[in-house]
């Protein structure tokens, strides 16, 4: 093993683990840059975590004694980042305990699932999942061994034992993780009962809902009709036409806002935002309610979604909820996996995306409005420097969300900073968000971002592009302040 200059090697850990978890990880090997990165990082590493967008289940916090379950339930079964990699190498989802839509048999022995994961752990070499898992195991569970077939059982027992203790309840970890605020993502029809119970419990954790109306806006969503009925029920407004649909949405937005929401979120396949004439929108909605799926109307869902994005911007102008746009994912690309296991099974594949043309209709209406903040996310990195940074570097309403999903990784972050910073500057960005359903990975994810940012800023400083004082401010902004201010938290 190579001894790195400037790293203290202790005898308490095996040398490998120490190397991987050393305090300089993710910093450039150049000693001067590493030194400066370390100085910058020291000033942000312990800042509270702002989590303005993610998919953690609020139920975790609704009851004081909620448990994460088994190690397999914590690390594998709910995390499509993890099981899609195993699946890509021929591991059947059934053997990982992923529930089947038809209720058919899947592996129920969680220790077996864990063993399979440990045997295949080498697949995560060089991946961000590998980084998060390692840091999560070390920082949350005190495990510095690399999982493999030989230590699988031992690790299972260690983790299971810890998960059974009070210190590993979600609320306890929320506090340990030093989270300042955590926003969940919730259907427009959600009763927010868990958020309500958290409020009523007197617990001081700040868990806020986010309004995500995709399932009622996408006319071709599975169970759309049922979702509309649920929206009627939730809002107390019987939805009989486009007008009452809009009223119901506005009603729910107001409720979410009351419950602490500061933002909405929209997942569309494209950022097209062309609004319809109201009469057209009414006609499309009427056809959808009537279940009319004539071939001549097959474009309805697409046109309606475009229209609704601009309509949602209109509502944001009125109620001040920050609008997030996550576009460019082909959901459930693998037909067989979707049929057998349903959505969110690691088979969502990005598509080429453009922003300059598609966003123009929305921006023509609201792009200069002081009430609107619209945060854009992309999976198509070729848009960073070509479209997104120039857009955000001009329109006062636009901010760029952090590198998303597949790009939430050291290289992805570097490409993002390379691609957007020069044109958009720092102050048209929205800081970081972890966007995860894996609660225990949150500190690791923020830590990767903070490290990469500090190393990047060290590079800018050493090339004389920014001063050290600038770098210090930018590190604070990117690690903490921007997420808080842009999301109005």
């Amino acid at each position: 093993m190579l001894l790195l200059p400037g790293i203290c090697y202790s005898k308490d850990m095996n040398a490998e683990a120490l190397h991987m978890l050393n305090e300089d990880r993710l910093f450039s090997p150049d000693p001067t840059r590493r030194h400066l990165a370390r100085e910058l990082y020291a000033t942000v590493r312990d800042l509270p975590l702002i989590c303005p967008h993610g998919h953690v289940d609020p139920q975790l916090f609704a009851e004081e004694n909620h448990s994460f379950g088994s190690p397999a339930e914590l690390f594998i079964i709910p995390d499509h980042y993890v099981f899609r990699m195993l699946y890509s190498q021929g591991v059947p989802l059934e053997s990982l305990g992923i529930p089947r839509r038809d209720g058919g048999a899947t592996e129920t022995d969680h220790r077996k699932i864990w063993r399979l994961f440990c045997e295949k752990y080498y697949l995560f070499r060089g991946t961000p999942s590998g980084l998060w898992l390692r840091q999560e195991l070390a920082d949350v569970f005190g495990i510095t061994e690399t999982p493999d077939a030989a230590n699988a059982d031992k690790l299972y027992d260690e983790i299971a034992a810890k998960l059974a203790t009070a210190a590993f309840r979600p609320r306890a970890l929320y506090e340990k993780f030093n989270i300042e605020v955590l926003c969940t993502t919730d259907a427009a029809t959600d009763s927010l009962e868990h958020h309500q119970r958290i409020r009523e419990s007197g617990w001081k954790g700040r868990i806020l809902p986010t309004f995500r109306p995709d399932a009622v806006i996408k006319l071709n969503a599975p169970n759309w009709r049922e979702n509309i009925d649920a929206l009627s029920a939730a809002s107390g407004i019987g939805i009989t036409d486009y007008k009452s649909f809009i009223a119901a949405l506005e009603n729910r937005r107001a409720f979410f806002k009351e419950m602490g929401a500061t933002a909405t979120d929209h997942g569309a396949e494209s950022p097209d935002t062309k609004p319809l004439e109201i009469s057209e929108a009414e006609a499309i909605f009427a056809r959808a309610l009537a279940g009319n799926r004539d071939e001549q109307y097959q474009g309805d869902p697409y046109f309606f979604e475009c229209h609704m994005l601009t309509e949602m911007a209109r509502m944001s102008v009125e109620d001040g909820l920050v609008m997030q746009l996550h576009v460019g994912s082909y959901r459930n690309h693998n037909a067989d996996i979707f049929e057998r296991f349903g959505a969110d099974k690691g088979a969502d594949i990005p598509t080429p995306t453009g922003y300059t043309y598609p966003l123009k209709p929305l921006l023509d209406r609201y792009g200069n409005h002081p009430n609107l903040t619209l945060i854009l996310f992309t999976l198509d990195e070729s848009c960073y420097s070509n479209e997104l940074a120039p857009l955000a570097g001009h329109y006062p309403t636009l901010r760029l969300g952090p590198p998303w999903w597949f790009h939430d990784s050291p290289n992805g972050m570097t490409r993002y900073l390379d691609g957007v910073l020069e044109t958009a500057g720092v102050y048209n960005l929205a800081g970081f968000n972890d966007d995860t359903r894996a609660f225990c990975s949150i500190p690791a994810r923020h830590d990767v971002w903070r490290r990469v940012v500090c190393d990047y800023l060290a590079g800018l400083t050493l090339r004389g592009i920014v001063t050290e004082k600038d770098a210090q401010e930018m590190a604070l902004d990117l690690s903490y302040r921007l997420a808080k201010s842009v999301y109005r938290l």
Copy 2:
């Protein structure tokens, strides 16, 4: 403050400024690479500047005593790179003194405008505008302080005092900047009276016109009809049909050439170059002259522009003017800003662009012709390695222009060199051009390019990809020789 190895810190400047303006800025922190970059840079830093493409107003040089006006007139009001960033953070253009189309009130107190700029100067952290502004302030005005609210008035007074002196006249600065030649960009209808006066003045500065016929070629350009009349007047050829239009263009090209022009420039939204049958071109032009805008003819401007690009290549084959193609910008994307303030207000947004298919018609006709040099520019960096470098690495007529606009930055240059050098080689590139209307930023822009190039070549040398002797030649080529030879200057 971190002391960088190998940098001399003096007491004459504050340490921050010295850090930022140190002689090694933009070089890699690796000491060996930095050392070699410094050696390469020493051989190109003082070479004269070749400025083959830009937007400096020739009027600056037409009168010996022309003044730049106030600090706000020099740095802010005419520079959309600067004010678009302020606008993106909510600063109204009116408060920056940007003239309104309707003549309505805007800020007239230039000191106030300057103050606002200084207060918001932190927005330029990490941006190329920030780099240029800093170097311009230091090298041209001897100011090494970072502008802020506290020193705004003092800086204003210092700059204003200098601008009032003879040493800060454009001609004096042209000489101080060691410019060898500077090409302007001029409408096809321009009388070139300023160029004429420069010639007649006996001043030795070499200011050459460039023929840019967009305003008469784009049938949907604002005031197209008036532009055609102006073209008739300028050429002395009454334009009554397509044939006389072509004759008038040829006449003007000949005049530009007489006046020293060596190039033309074309700004199109797409690089489509499909030529029309002559009868079709005649019919479209006749409809345009007649003001016929029937819906069935709404494609006319697009088809005509495509046709004219290939037609312009034909003329270049005949008269030897180098042809430049700047494509891929959606002009005036912000409808409200365009309506209130007009064009060139920082709201031009790049679009996805392709070259392989669209350029084929032009290349089929003239791609192998020894008289033609066609220089391609892109805002879509995903074309560098995929389309542009392979095209330039094959067709003898093609050269690649330097990183353009949003990509005229340290990262943009690095991505450009990474993307094109391996496939196109050095000798299918066109060196650097500053493409600016901000005359005083020209030395800073060339300096950034020369530094980035030398650091890049140092990296290639240290990895054994090129020899030091090669690197030295390549540095000279990229800094000086290629721009001169490719533009036939």
Copy 3:
């Protein structure tokens, strides 16, 4: 000349050559990273070469005494990587001895061709061709001088003298190069007589065919009708309709497999894979056989090729041949060059390519099938992180081929690893292949890959992303094991 730290300079070579050919070439200048890269490289540099995809002519090995011909025949005339760069700078193909389609005069004096090449050798500065040529000259021919006008004749004589000796016969070099297996690319109609003779010769070299049916699948291929007749003859199945066409293809696949083939290869302009109804495929094929080219049927070749890609996947599921897909090249873009010199003249230009939508039909049918391995290649690097890595990181049938063609270069490899490794991991990649017809450049090409990979992994290790042990495994996988296992060799 700068003395690099940690490099031994000997007196046996001139200092420049030594610098370029030093043992640390292509490694980062950072001393720690360089040190670790060197350690990793030491463990893979002498591994046998696995060459699973390329265009070497099998005839080279069919006769024991086959000679490469003159230096021009070895380095220039057959290598479009080389002559396209000369052509791009105005050197006529005739003067390089490239044969004309019409049999007209081209340069026949190979020494003159070689001189021209040496005079223009500086054009290859910074290009991968420059790297390969240098290493080939040094390692194969013992020449460390940089070719130029002055030494052209001397080098010609040295190389010619060596080529006349037994040590420079293809079989001898195959053994010297330590090649373990080399796959050629062969038309579906090929008799594989050279492969047969190699087998029968008792020589131990492993030269395997690859089934490439493009010329019979593309209905608009030059000489398609003759190709179909040749397919009938080769298979012994008279092709009279779609059914017999499919039977003939299956027959040839079986023959290729018998002859050792483990893979097929498909070059399409797009990865569209939409299958047709059988009746439609039959009708299209019947029209093609009948020579029916009515305008209404002009889409036939495109639709048929899409269909056949999925049909080829079906055959791979059945016979276990690995399927390779090379898409995104606009072949013969330069009409004039194609007319005068034919195909493969350096005028193939990449086009923008997408994978997520176009591949779905094929993946819907066979994307989860355990028998299928489909290796994807791209010329559009913007797909690496956006589409290809997510696809390969999910579908068990997909693997990503190495950086292809213009991207088979140090920067291309770095962008590839940056773009795919985090999402696809190492084990969804297919290692390296040299894809060349220039047999003597094979060791240099593999060496560039192994060096870049080791340097890259050293960077990951020093940032704590992988352990040294991981890096060691990954280096072995990427240099040797993956190509062998993925191609089932």
